[in-house]
Amino acid sequence: MSTAFKSLSTAMLKGFVRDKMSLFFMFFFPLMFLVVFGLLFRDAGQDKIKIAVIGDGPVVAALEKTGAVEVQRFDDEQAAVAKVKDGDLPAALVLRGNSVQLRFAASDQVAAGTVNGLVSGVVDQVNLAATGQPPAFTLQQQPVEDASLKPIQYLTPGILSWGISISAVFGAALTMVSWRKKQVLRRIRLAPVSAITVLTSRLTVSVGIAVVQAITFVLVALTPPFGLKLAGSWYLALPLLVLGTLAFFAIGMLVGAFCKTEEAASGAANILVLPMSFLSGTFFPIENAPGWLQAVSKALPLRHMNDGMLDVLVRGKGIEALLVPCSVLIAFTAVVGLLAAKLFRWED
């Protein structure tokens, strides 16, 4: 390792760490998103359905045992039904002796379906129990994922990939623009140092920052308030991390080649990264988007990094899950990198 490479990397790293603004924006800002979203959606998967209940009986007890329903007791049937009509509650359950009457709001089809299914299931269960017969069929319910589908499981890979895209794109673009503007690039050009040394040292810093980001993000997500459960194949994320950083670094170099000032570069980087993060399903799943939007999404490196990260960090898939994301990232880096190299300028 040449001293020039080492000292350039050190200079860039120090420049990054000492700039509190960029350190915050590129490092803590995405981490903040992880914390906020992680806490906000912590219980989203276990949202209980509220049902108004008038009267009591074994059906109510069985309903409460499912854990999926939160019972709100009413004395007055009129008031309960009014609540349902207003849309405050999806359904009201009226029990008189052995008669079980369910009044639900058909306007909310999803909630109506869930409540109807739940209640009829419970009523069947209670009926069966009342006959004293053993059940003819037994049902065992088990999730296919190692852990439950808690939001943190898909938030972590998504926000981590997004955070890395921010630090790599902005890092490359801002260093390049500012070094060109301040004539540091020209000054380096006057020293017996090759362009490859300058490029690889900046790239090494970006990869290093990405690794530290990944470790920090995962460690934070593993703590009890978030409760991330890593799949056994988590180490397969490393090649994705490096290739993703390369792809975003290439984007940053392209932005840096176009822009003359740091402000322009940071604006252009935002215009690229922000829509990309939404289209790649960083915060919200993209599955519900129109087909053409999903097609666009498939062309984005962040989408493939997201998918790959999700597969190896959470879903526990093996090395075969890396094939598509890694190929796309390599191809993307090659194309954008070549373009950036063509447009590269040592000075304005």
Binding site: S7, A11, D19, K182, Q183, I188, L190, A191, P192
Partner: protein, 300 residues
């Protein structure tokens, strides 16, 4: 003695603008050479062509015996360049800047400390570059140009935008560099400064070199009269005109101004008359040379 720099008839134009229009000069080893002229005269472009940062449209450049264009990595360690802008790494301290630039040339860290001492920044070693004063930044950027012990040093406007005290501090640094046997080529728009520092100067205007010689020879060649100013009321203009060697004498509210080409006998005649109190003698300067060459007042 071989020339450190030899430039023959270089041209460089940007569109219709002839930034450098047929410039030739040579700088001997160990010489302190100044390129002077107002802003936009083509000084920086000339310097950048010699440094190998730009390709001339025509003409030849020899820097330490080789052509600096295209970029020649074998030549670079022997050349030190300070660019016009203070090009520093962001948020590094003075010491770190020097160490980083030094490492590009494989220079040890102890050299960096030595350079800080040379430019008088030892006590600012751990201060970040953006917190240094203008003069300190300039000295640091010169130190960065010198850190790898080059044979030829190019400095572009090192004293621009400095207060008088900082400029004088920098002059000491520049003289110390020359004492180390370096060849210095520098640009400035301060003619007075060039007169004090340089062995030879090239006066540039509109892309051409108008004159090239030592400052003293240029001023001598101008054959300009010496002006002696007396305090008001010490001598009558008619009396002054009677003194042998006086070309003209004019009286105004600032005093009596005598113009002469033989200052020695005139001064002794003035001394006999007891009029030396508050007397000022002004000989021609490079500004007068510029005025004589271009027909315009010099405006930096």
């Amino acid at each position: 003695m071989t020339d450190a720099v030899a430039v023959t008839d270089i041209h460089k134009s940007y569109g219709d603008l002839n930034a450098v229009d047929g410039v030739s000069f040579a700088v001997a080893e160990g010489e302190f050479f100044g390129i002077l002229g107002p802003n936009g005269a083509g000084k920086t472009t000339t310097l950048e062509i010699v440094e190998g940062l730009r390709e001339p449209d025509s003409g030849t450049v020899s820097l330490l015996g080789v052509n600096p264009w295209p970029r020649n990595p074998a030549l670079l360690p022997r050349v030190g360049v300070q660019l016009q802008a203070s090009s520093f790494f962001e948020r590094l301290t003075a010491r770190e800047q020097l160490e980083t630039f030094g490492s590009l040339y494989g220079v040890s860290k102890s050299t960096a400390a030595e350079m800080l001492e040379l430019v008088g920044l030892t006590d600012k070693a751990d201060v970040q570059e953006n917190k240094l004063s203008g003069g300190q930044r300039q000295r640091l950027s010169i130190a960065c140009a010198l850190v790898h012990d080059p044979d030829v040093v190019f400095l572009d406007e090192p004293t621009a935008a400095l207060d008088p005290q900082a400029r004088r501090n920098l002059w000491d640094v520049l003289r110390a560099i020359q004492d180390r046997g370096k060849t210095i080529v520098y640009t400035t728009h301060y003619l007075d400064e060039a007169e004090i520092l340089c062995d030879r100067v090239a006066i540039m205007d509109r892309g051409k070199i108008l004159a090239l010689d030592s400052p003293a020879a240029l001023v001598r060649g101008l054959d300009a009269p010496t002006r002696i100013t007396l305090q008001p009321g010490t001598l009558l203009a008619d009396d002054a005109r009677g003194i042998e060697g006086v070309d003209s004498a004019t009286d105004d509210e600032d005093g009596l101004t005598i113009s002469t080409r033989e200052p020695a006998p005139v001064l002794s005649a003035l001394a006999e008359r007891g009029t030396l109190d508050g007397l000022q003698v002004r000989t021609a300067t490079l500004e007068d040379v510029f005025l004589g060459l271009t027909g315009r007042e010099y405006r930096a």
